[in-house]
């Protein structure tokens, strides 16, 4: 053991050799109890896709059951609020599936009876045009669950003739730039697209060395590998909770080919958004 200048205690590699190695090996050997715990944990963290109306699990992937030409995915509460107010109010959307998952970020320990608000990953298609699919994902999908999520939604051999649009937010402190962060006009949009996406984006592309994280990154990588045209619109904001100004920052995306025909009444959408803000306002006394 050694102490660093900052007071951290770190484990230093032992040059003496064998004794320590034997101890480490003993620690590494897995017992049947360990295996059982691991199995239970894997079962707990499984991503399940099912239909809420019939309470049945989907046997095939979602897009195999409901092939689509346009797939719009909103990840995070601001992106979800944007789609709810500006897209979902213009037409009748039918729920076609719901992804149920549990991880350490969920606020419940009961993994058997997750309510829709806790496992918020719902899929809809437009009744008048079922080839338009929408996903509202408000829950956090952990790293080990992202591949399962992709398999259950896209399947192992997805169609290439669809266009995927992903909307999400990130805190502006994650944005790396040579400019001073105080000069940034938050919120602002950045785009990242796959090679097969040919349309021009509605904002500047995300510059290096910035990267995308979590589920949006997983979806984009998946689309790049399978040569599906996909674009991610990432909104950098300084307010990660539900916020009117952050949600409205996504408005330029309404002119895109995927969303143009789905948007009908913008003033009404703004009113719906304001109502959503007031009903979802969380009382917190920490900040004034």
């Amino acid at each position: 053991m050694a102490a660093t200048f900052f007071g951290e205690v770190v484990r230093t590699p032992c040059r003496a050799g064998t004794e320590d190695e034997e101890e480490e090996e003993e620690g590494r050997r897995e017992t049947p109890e360990d295996r059982e715990v691991r199995r239970q944990l894997a079962r707990k963290r499984e991503v399940r896709l099912f239909r809420r109306q019939t309470k049945t699990m989907l046997e095939v992937s979602l897009l195999e059951k409901h092939p689509c030409s346009k797939f719009i995915i909103a990840i995070g509460n601001n992106a979800v609020a944007f789609l709810s107010s500006f897209v979902m109010n213009s037409g009748t959307w039918e729920e076609v599936g719901c992804a149920k998952l549990w991880n350490e970020w969920c606020r419940t320990t009961d993994t058997a009876h997750l309510s829709p608000t806790e496992a918020f990953c719902v899929f809809y298609h437009l009744k008048s045009n079922p080839s338009v699919m929408l996903c509202q994902c408000s829950c956090y999908v952990a790293e080990d669950q992202q591949y399962q999520w992709l398999e259950k939604v896209f399947g192992s051999c997805p169609r290439r003739n669809m266009q995927v649009t992903i909307l999400t937010c990130r805190h502006v402190t994650d944005y790396k730039t040579s400019e001073s962060t105080s000069s940034l006009h938050t919120p602002f949009l950045k785009a990242l697209k796959t090679q097969n996406f040919k349309e021009p984006p509605f904002c500047s592309l995300l510059e290096q060395p910035n990267i995308v994280h979590d589920l949006p990154a997983a979806v984009l990588s998946y689309c790049q590998v399978w040569r599906i045209p996909a674009i991610l619109y990432l909104c950098y904001t300084d307010v990660m909770k539900l916020d009117l100004i952050t949600v409205e920052a996504f408005k330029p995306v309404l002119s895109s080919r995927s969303l143009k025909c789905l948007v009908k009444n913008i003033p009404q959408s703004t009113e719906i958004l304001k109502k959503l803000m007031t009903t979802n306002e969380i009382q917190s006394n920490i900040y004034t």
Partner: protein, 250 residues
């Protein structure tokens, strides 16, 4: 690399950052907006009122606090940190009055608060205060003052400034609209503060709180009705300006 320097705030990072102080500035952005304007004969503090829970007593959720009869402040950031700073400042105001038989100057009490904040950026085991403050008042010489402090312990005098969420947007509005004409009359200075807040306040006038200090007069908190009147006047003026504009174009 940054994480190694977050633990002890007395440690600089290799490129000269005190990360805890910068993180404290992020905490300030989580508080609702506050704006301060220094007029010719008036100082104005306007804040975006936090929505109060149904069962909560509204009087105990205040963003504008008097430090003495002639000085008041608005803050943005951590509520508990603000309470501690305000209490210390209030005690200092009275202690000063008892010791030298004169009320504090606005600059003195601002310097006191800023020094307190700076101490907490240079002590082992302590974190900086997560608040920025706008301190306004009149000195004995009758000159209006507006100061702003931040978690690093710096303080500066301003003609007009904003802190908290969307402070940048409000500051840009003030830079465009703060003119000598705009602040010459008390009512115009009040309207400027409200207009600046309306740029970012989500639900209009009912979420605004306003306080003013006039020369040789105590702090006055505006009632909801008075604010509503001002907001209605502003909206009327806006409509008239738009009508004039459309007439000009046709």
């Amino acid at each position: 690399m940054a994480s190694r320097y977050d633990r002890a705030i007395t440690v600089f990072s290799p490129d000269g950052h005190l990360f805890q102080v910068e993180y404290a500035q992020e905490a300030v952005k989580k508080g609702s907006t506050a704006v301060g304007i220094r007029g010719t004969n008036i100082v104005v503090l306007g804040v975006e009122k936090k929505s109060v829970a149904k069962l909560q007593d509204e009087r105990t959720v205040r963003k504008i606090c008097a430090l003495d009869d002639h000085v008041c402040m608005a803050f943005a950031g951590l509520t508990a940190d603000a309470r501690v700073v305000i209490n210390k400042a209030r005690v200092e105001c009275q202690s000063h009055k008892l010791t030298v038989e004169d009320p504090v100057t606005v600059e003195y009490i601002t310097r006191f608060i800023a020094t307190l904040k700076q101490k907490y950026t240079q002590s082992n085991g302590r974190r900086p205060f997560g608040i920025s403050a706008l301190i306004v008042g009149f000195d004995d010489d009758g000159i209006p003052r507006l100061y702003q402090t931040d978690p690093s312990g710096t303080y500066h005098a301003w003609k007009a400034n904003a802190i908290g969420r969307s402070a940048k947007t409000v500051r840009e509005f003030l830079e465009k609209n703060y003119t000598e004409d705009a602040i010459a009359h008390d009512n115009e200075a009040i309207k400027l503060a409200i207009r600046a807040l309306l740029e970012v306040v989500q639900s209009g006038g009912k979420n605004i709180e306003l306080a003013i200090i006039r020369r040789n007069q105590p702090l006055k908190m505006f009632s909801a009705k008075e604010i509503e009147l001002q907001v209605n006047e502003i909206e009327k003026e806006k409509e008239e300006a738009e009508k004039k504009k459309s007439k000009k174009t046709t």
